[in-house]
Amino acid sequence: MAARSTRSPRVRRRPVNPGPTPEEARRRLSRMSQLRFNRGQVLASALTVLLGVALVAQVRSADEAGLGQLRQSELVALLDDASTRVDALQREVVELEGDREQLQGQQGDAAAAEAARQRLESYEILAGTVPVEGPGIVVFVNDPGGVVTQTMLLDGIQELRDAGAEAIQIGTTRVIASSFVGTDPDGRVSLDGNALTQPLRILAVGEPHTLSGAMAIPGGFTDSLRGAGATVEVTEQDTLLIDAVRTVGEPRYAQPVPAAEEP
């Protein structure tokens, strides 16, 4: 400022006299470093002392930078921010508490898990992915002449199922929903592509009396096989083990239809 007010006449002459050379400036700087006491210098020094104190005080208070430094509008904005945030957090708290109560309130949780486990078990048995044991019958078929036909075997399986067989094993093959009876290139009866070897052993888990009764139906499985020249022997057992299992592949084409939303 000092420069400005006294320099203004010089500024206009500047093109003629472009300020001091560096040598002059440095000479003046060194001359300035001499101590010269006069009223003006002391007064100026008093001002610079004040400036120093104010500078430090301001830096200190800016460091603290408390809310006290802020203007009213800034404080209002801060408060607004904070209360919006509080609202959002409180909403979240309510939501989460609701979730927690819902989760805790499910008394039938264990029962649901138990039901799911049982359902899984029955699906596993149906799909033939696990070995099963239980009461049932064993049917030995001795057919050295190869007289048993696809139809006869299909009838047998059908009769066993009709009688409530829960798991069936023929030879070493578990009979499942997708099982099919066919013939191999030599003309022998096969199950799911596996040729059946003689003597044929059929295991079925279910109510033994019902199953053996189903086998003994006149004109049924036993009858027709005996009539064709094979020997059939049915024994009821209190426990028998069906140990043939299947692996379930992922269906390639069939997709479940999404259940309609319950209203």
């Binding site: 400022m1 000092a2 400036a25 006491f37 006069n38 210098q41 120093g52 430090v56 203007r71």
Partner: protein, 110 residues
């Protein structure tokens, strides 16, 4: 030389005493400090050009501080305190920069 010593003494005093900024002065102090710094740099420049004048320095220093405080006060009254403060800081900053540039040219010739 004495003013430079005074500045140093002031900084030391401030560090030692660590004075509390009174609440009523708090909004004006930052701008006032920058205005005073502007006056100081102007004085250094004037010294190098051999036209330094104690009286002018004191008056410009005080008037700078007072005007800066006045502008902030006015801005606060008008409700544009923040913007006006920013404007004053920008202007003073520009002046400080240009003064420092002149000082540099005087001392280093570049």
């Amino acid at each position: 030389m004495i003013p430079v010593l005074g500045l140093v003494v002031g900084i030391v005093l401030g560090l030692v005493l660590s004075p509390e900024v009174p609440v009523w002065i708090a909004p004006y102090l930052p701008i006032a400090v920058i205005a005073a710094l502007d006056a100081v740099f102007g004085a250094v420049r004037a010294s190098l050009e051999g036209i330094f004048n104690d009286r002018v320095f004191v008056i410009s220093f005080l008037s700078n501080v007072v005007v800066a405080a006045l502008i902030v006060f006015l801005g606060n009254q008008l409700g544009v305190g923040a913007q006006l403060s920013t404007g004053v800081v920008v202007v003073l900053g520009l002046r400080i920069f240009s003064n420092v540039a002149v000082i540099r040219r005087h001392l280093l010739g570049a």
